[in-house]
């Protein structure tokens, strides 16, 4: 179709303008600020090269220790939340997939529904379920004489990590389950039927038929879950305020306080770029791994 160039530019212009103003400009501006001594209140106070990055990565400044504390806490959260979010969601998908057709839709919806609420609602609910003093769970445990004193679910470790993990799993596991259910639905039923005749058991079928067929989805879920957990902010911000003693203060909270509390835009943006690079490294890993798989398949 030969429509004029003018029209095509006219159509793409609104998006391009928004994209430049609200993505491209902040992207380069952030990079610019990371190379400057840049205060939130006083603005630009001069070019300092990669000093901010060196300060964060190698010096003995408080920015160095807070960045690596945040990174460590974030990695702990990733290590705690990713296995249940991936493996239990697969188990849930298999459970739903094997249910009688009549109730499949019902249970799928129930397991998925918690994903619809905001992180602030999750925090608000779990704070009052888990609170050390007057929380529902502690009242229940003490009434049943399971514990004599309230458990400090939100006040001391290791309970705080457990609470954050449970709240997160409850909140987002349904999304992963949905992706797995979609994957399971695409497997040809006749393969299972053929293997049933051969007398294959559940585990044999899972290992030799299900897993190979959902490998790509499994990998996708794993990677997106790692990235999502890496971006954790709302749950610790609202449920624990990063405590006790900053043990649950994740990277985004560290960046946030470098900017909002210490007024250091330069350091904050350098930290955000470093964090972005780490996340991109993870997704790059996914990209190459899936490429590898395609090559193998062609052989």
């Amino acid at each position: 179709m030969k429509a004029g160039k003018k029209v095509s530019v006219f159509f793409i212009l609104p998006f391009v303008l928004f994209f430049i103003l609200f993505w491209l400009v902040p992207f380069f501006y952030g990079f610019y600020m990371s190379l400057h001594n840049f205060s939130l209140i006083n603005g630009d106070r001069g070019f300092i090269g990669v000093d901010n990055y060196i300060k964060i990565l190698f010096s003995s400044s408080m920015y160095h220790s807070s960045f690596f504390l945040g990174l460590k806490n974030t990695l702990i959260f990733v290590a705690l939340s990713v296995p249940p979010l991936v493996l239990l969601s697969l188990a849930l998908a298999l459970l739903v997939d094997n249910l009688p057709n009549k109730v499949k839709g019902l249970f799928r919806t129930i397991y998925f529904i918690s994903y619809s609420v905001s992180v602030t609602a999750v925090a608000s609910i779990f704070i009052w379920m888990l609170k050390g003093n007057g929380g529902y769970l502690n009242n229940l445990l003490m009434n049943l004489k399971i514990t004599a004193a309230p458990i400090p679910w939100l006040e001391s470790q290791p309970f705080v990590w457990i609470s954050l993990t449970i709240a997160t799993v409850w909140w987002t596991i349904g999304y992963n389950m949905m992706l797995f259910i979609n994957g399971l639905n695409e497997i040809d039923v006749s393969i299972y039927e053929a293997s049933a005749i051969d007398g294959a058991g559940f585990w044999t079928k899972f290992v030799s038929i299900t897993m190979p067929n959902i490998k790509n989805i499994f990998f996708f879920v794993l990677m997106t879950t790692i990235i999502a957990s890496f971006n954790v902010y709302g749950q610790p911000r609202l449920m624990t305020a990063g405590g006790p003693g900053q043990t649950t203060k994740p990277l985004i909270m560290v960046i946030n306080s470098a900017i909002m509390d210490q007024n250091n835009m330069g350091i904050g943006n350098a930290m955000a770029i470093l964090m972005g690079l780490i996340i991109m490294a993870v997704s790059l890993g996914q990209y190459f791994m899936t490429k590898e798989k395609e090559k193998i398949r062609i052989k």
Binding site: F11, I12, P14, L94, L95, I279
Partner: protein, 276 residues
């Protein structure tokens, strides 16, 4: 369908137990919102000893610390305008890329892919600084305007359009139909499915997002309802779980209803953004 060996009844029982675990926090939220103060703080039973509507009455009367109707109104403005802005800019751009001979097409497409690959956290703080210096904090603008730059949405609609035969549009063009007419009568109906599903995803994202609004809004009366719940959670004065839960119930009802009745569209939207 892996096996038929485990009887359906046992699987269904397991599914029910799991379902209880999933529903428990939501049941807790609803039932606590109907509890009186001492009941909410002291009891270990999920159901209220005596159902009271006091929390809801208080909630809608406490207009100074928690103007929940204003929050709901803000949320409506932000989600509706943001979603419309996203869909309009994205559809026009996708059409231009997929069907018209737009200059720098290749460069724009590569830009889109880069924008999708770079984590959002990198642009949040500089964007906050720009809005701060232009005096736009605590207005609707920073909550709505960035929605116009949805690289992922453009790309998904673009791909969807590529999968559609262009003959119909060409025939209409030969017949002398104007481009606007073709866009409204032929293109829009054919991309309607992806606009609906992506519309839901964008809407839910705007409704539930927390980090970005927490950067650009600090005045109570400018909160969205999601941000309002955060301000209640962080506020020292909210020691009444019943009142907190009543506010949370009001906040989550719209999205829960959408999920319950329209989850077909939501799932399709998520899988479009995820894997093909």
């Amino acid at each position: 369908m892996i096996t038929k060996k485990i009887p359906n009844i046992i699987l269904t029982i397991i599914a029910c137990i799991v379902a209880y675990a999933f529903l428990l926090p939501l049941l807790f939220m609803v039932s606590t919102s109907f509890k009186g103060l001492s009941d909410a703080l002291g009891s270990s039973s999920l159901l209220p000893q005596q159902v009271t509507f006091k929390n809801y009455v208080d909630l809608f009367n406490q207009t100074s610390s928690a103007p929940i109707l204003k929050w709901a109104f803000n949320t409506l403005v932000v989600t509706v305008l943001g979603t419309m802005l996203r869909l309009i800019t994205s559809t026009l751009a996708a059409y231009s890329l997929a069907r018209l001979n737009v200059p720098f097409k290749k460069g724009i497409l590569i830009g889109l892919i880069w924008a999708m690959a770079i984590p959002e956290i990198v642009t949040y703080f500089p964007l906050f600084y720009i809005f701060k210096n232009t005096g736009m904090l605590n207005t609707y603008l920073p909550l709505i305007l960035p929605s116009g730059a949805g690289a992922m949405t453009v790309y998904l609609i673009y791909q969807f359009m590529l999968g559609f035969p262009r003959e119909l549009e060409e025939a209409a063009f030969v017949d002398g139909a104007s481009l606007v007419k073709i866009l409204l009568r032929i293109v829009l109906p054919s991309v309607k499915p992806i606009l609906i599903t992506q519309g839901f995803i964008v809407f839910l994202g705007l409704y539930n997002t927390y980090l970005w609004p927490s950067l650009v809004v600090s005045r109570t009366e400018m909160n969205t309802i999601t941000l309002g719940i955060a301000s209640l959670v962080l506020g020292e004065n909210y020691v009444n779980p019943g009142l907190m839960m009543a506010a949370t119930v009001v906040a989550v009802i719209p999205t829960i209803l959408i999920f319950m009745f329209l989850n077909k569209y939501i799932v399709r939207g998520f899988t479009q953004s995820g894997i093909k």
